[in-house]
Symmetry: C2
Subunit: 453 residues, 2 copies
């Protein structure tokens, strides 16, 4: 007996219902991307390991899925290699390709390879799966989609403004209430500079992040424990206790960080972005949050994260500005700013709040019951008419028992069931049953079509 | 100096223009699939090698991309394994996953794993990349998309009828004139049975296929050479020279194959399908073609292939009926019928015939030139209005030289360029330039919006 088939751990099949939901999310995002002038690209699932290795830190390198060379994969492997059993060295001999780990490195590689064909600023989006050999756990998969939009080759803060508007528009269309949290890497650098402890940024943001949970005394104690001088902790108090409106926060920051050129630059950037956005009809809350420190080594300007207001879940979108996307591939000076929507978490949020619009889940609009050879022949004509009017319609392929056909109708969630028996054929009518209301009426094909116009 | 980045051979990046074209193809196909009640699923890129191996013949096994186990991939490898250098055995120890080779085997695995959640007949479509370690050459890639629609769990020939209508509708929407060629595996079996040489089917169809090129004498010579008895070749003459309308062909076949039960069954099936389709407003040519023998071991009933009439290229779509999709995974009795669109070839055909509709290639509709801080602030308000009306619009992010901004406008193929300088701001107007005609007019934002309604 054959073993039951299975799929690799951490991967998923998507059923027709799940796909309908995912398509709704991706289609919504794509429409908004297009509204703002972003255009799609795709890159191959496999990249050379030369492109991938060393880009995600030592831990990242370990999480790359490597693809065994095809043909004689041992041809480059010596006896000594085998005897030594050094995993890294052997993997480098056995594999020259890997599966992409994110969309950023392939995009950087794309920009470098195609730089002569591209006009900058280049506004691209990309929605493709990525693979990571992470330990699978709830909500963490080894294959998942990323959904990125970036503008490269422009330093203008208008790009940040438009990306935030895009985020607002996407979540407004999806019906998810969100807070968009903003920070700026330069402000964080300014703070660290100002208290004379540049290497402590992470400790500081981590401690501030706990303020609500553990209270000010414990935050201060933690900072001292991390080796911050008492004087620095004292100076940090207005920052740790930063509160009030965005304007109030900016005022405090401007006062405290006046001595840091970098800090002031960050404050100016943040202020500019908020000011531009104040003219936009945003529906999301915009909130300065100094604890945002995502990808600290990567981002150089704006940092943003999006939190759903009505569901307890991690950030559902993030992004920021980086100064040097392509330097690692030998092309310096390409700066950019981008955002990434967390499709899996957005999927969970929409599920929890039950926010999928009925239309997005609907497939077939009219299903014809099959009563036999003559009747189905009549239905084929009706089907042509409906489909020509862009109405999604199908016929049960066999003259099975009514119960079976109706259970199929239920399973596909059809809006109407159409019955064409001898009576209907003689009268040139269709008995149409509304599956929501249960109501049944006798209509001509033109009247059926008119229902959907 | 860093090496120039590259991508694995046989793989491709898709630029924004290529993606627009591909999306046009896939969107057209998806819309038609949905019109006929097919719904989308997706399966993981990686499958277990247990699922993949042995399904594509020995040659296919060699073309599978295998993924190195993560972590200590040598843990299962003994000294003896290493010493022996047996590639197959070693690969089996090093890898337990591979990249999917087609969409059919993963679909069969999906049906078996989810059989208790599915209602049959199950009509699914799937559009995803597949990977094959083939030698790359013109038009053959190591990563390419397949685009499959199948109905499983129904023996009704109505499914064949609807699939052929779908093909007709897709190519009609794409504007590609095609011939749909039909055959039936049972007719081929009938022929082989009837001349007493069941093992010669492939030789026979290959020889018949050359009739146009080499002529009847040489076809007959080839058949004799392949070991067919003279008497069999003589009996085959009416079949080899089969000509005329589909009705005439069916008549000849029915006369010649009257003695073969299987053959007659195949003829009946073909006739039924043609008859049902005769009531449909098909735009494609339907043509019985006995040389169609694709996937002979796999198909058990209808076989079909689609040829573009105006471009010299291999078949751009194919499909057929199979009796036992899931038997290899321990679930017998699941029959089905399916088709597969060749996206890459369709892409080439549309390119050669220059058939992409202008709208499908258009991204941004209005691009605002950036004249500076105040002017761009005014543009942001206009942009909100346009986007709220679902008009795709953007602003050049910096106040760069006019020439640079216009060259960007060209590169994105915007329909209009909008200029808002001091004069326009004072007058509450927008100077709008039609990029096709060069015409320029001074309009209010409402008038601009009205252009697109």
């Amino acid at each position: 007996m054959m073993a039951k088939p299975s799929i690799p751990k951490g991967t998923r099949d998507f059923s027709v219902d799940e796909m309908a939901k995912r398509n709704y999310i991706f289609d919504t995002i794509k429409q908004v991307f297009a509204l703002y002038g972003f255009r799609q690209i795709e890159t191959p699932a496999m990249e050379t390991l030369q492109t991938l290795m060393g880009k995600y830190g030592e831990e990242g390198d370990k999480l790359l899925f490597k693809v065994l060379n095809s043909g004689d994969f041992l041809s480059d492997v010596t006896e000594a290699d085998l005897a030594e059993r050094n995993l890294n060295r052997l993997a480098a001999r056995l594999c020259e390709k890997g599966l992409r780990y994110d969309l950023t490195v392939p995009f950087a590689r794309f920009v470098v390879m195609h730089r002569n064909e591209l006009t900058f600023p280049f506004k691209r989006y990309q929605i493709q799966p990525v693979w990571r050999a992470d330990r699978p756990q709830k909500g963490r998969y080894r294959e998942f989609y990323q959904c990125d939009a970036d503008v490269v080759g422009s330093d203008s803060l208008l790009n940040e403004v438009e990306l935030i508007e895009m985020i607002d528009e996407v979540f407004s269309r999806l019906g998810i209430r969100v807070a968009i949290k903003l920070n700026n890497r330069k402000i964080l650098s300014g703070i660290a500079e100002w208290i004379g402890a540049p290497e402590k940024i992470v400790d500081i943001t981590v401690a501030i992040d706990k303020l609500d949970k553990i209270g000010l005394d414990k935050v201060n104690a933690e900072l001292l424990e991390k080796g911050l001088p008492e004087e620095a902790v004292a100076r940090l108090q207005p920052i740790i206790q930063l509160q009030g409106s965005n304007e109030e926060k900016l005022q405090v920051l401007r006062r405290e960080l006046a001595g840091s050129e970098t800090g002031v630059k960050g404050i100016d950037e943040l202020k500019y972005i908020l000011q531009k956005l104040s003219a936009s009809p945003l529906r999301s809350t915009l909130e300065i949050d100094l604890t945002l420190a995502r990808g600290l080594n990567y981002y150089t300007g704006a940092i943003l994260e999006v939190k759903a207001l009505d569901v307890q879940i991690g950030s559902i979108t993030g992004g920021g500005r980086y100064d040097n996307l392509t330097g690692v591939f030998g092309l310096p000076g390409v700066s950019g700013v981008g955002i990434s929507f967390g499709a899996d978490r957005i999927f969970d949020v929409l599920n929890q709040l039950d926010l999928y619009p009925k239309e997005s889940m609907q497939s077939t609009q009219v299903m014809f019951v099959n009563f036999g050879e003559n009747e189905s022949q009549a239905c084929l004509g009706h089907l042509s008419r409906l489909r020509a009017a862009d109405i999604r319609a199908e016929i049960y392929p066999e003259a099975a028992k009514m119960k079976k056909q109706m259970s199929y109708a239920d399973s596909i969630g059809t809006q109407y069931v159409a019955l064409v028996g001898e009576t209907e054929m003689a009268a040139g009518k269709i008995a149409l049953k509304n599956m929501t209301t249960g109501e049944q009426s006798s209509l001509t094909i033109d009247e059926v079509i008119a229902l959907f116009v």
